[in-house]
């Protein structure tokens, strides 16, 4: 049982870390877009 739980836990943790990374990149891109907009206005 322990082996199975370990395998499933590792898969889900890795997937969540990847999703979290995607979200962080998305936020960084959104803030870069905002910077660009203010640069164009200025």
């Amino acid at each position: 049982m322990t082996w199975m739980i370990a395998a499933y836990a590792i898969i889900w943790i890795a997937i969540f870390i990847y999703v979290f990374g995607l979200d962080r990149k998305q936020r960084a891109l959104a803030s870069e877009l905002d910077q660009l907009k203010s640069k164009l206005k200025g």
């Binding site: 082996w3 199975m4 370990a6 499933y8 590792i10 898969i11 890795a14 995607l22 891109l29």
Partner: protein, 235 residues
Amino acid sequence: MKSRDYILPALVFVGMLVALYMIGFYAPVEREQGIVQKIFYFHVPCAWVSFMAFLVVFVFSIRYLISRDKRWDNRAAAAAEVGVLFCTLVLITGPIWAKPVWGIWWTWDARLTLTLVLWLIYVAYLLLRHYVTGDEKRATLSAILGIVGFIDVPLVYFAIRWWRTQHPQPVFGGGAGSGMDPRMAATLWVSLAAFTLMFAYFVRVRSRQLALEDEIEQAHQLADEASVSMRGDLR
């Protein structure tokens, strides 16, 4: 985000819930290995997704070399990233399954070794993308590696048919004695479908991000050029 953008993640969520339910309550416990065999329902889909990802890299790399359209390069890069993630999970969950069943974490048989080589090829692909400067040079070199590296995928797949390996023989189409309980097969198919949808979602999101990064970079360059020419006009 448009409302249709939520369809794919919603399908992934539902697919995963159904797969987990079937793994836990529908698929029978295997007679010889016991409950640890249930690792199979996530281990195999991870391998399937990594094969599919590297096939996508192969196809999109060819399309990039033909068209020189940066969109294909971005899509190939996104697929490679997701492929490496799932190939890593195959290489982690395999030994976790092997230890209680074989008594060892790892053995240098053809299937396992070629899978490790596959992982190294696509890690090299990502490193190449990270370190090579110049958009076109990076995209061209990556495309060549993405095409050549794909040669290892059929080798990994056929390794258990061509050579005697510690890794189990194929459960589908493996000749006499292969096959599995229909409830196990149904659970595997649902899990494969859920992982395929997850792969499609990750590649879509990541390739959009890469395209957006390119657009932002171009817009920054244009804005810099415009501000330089405006300063020149004011003088």
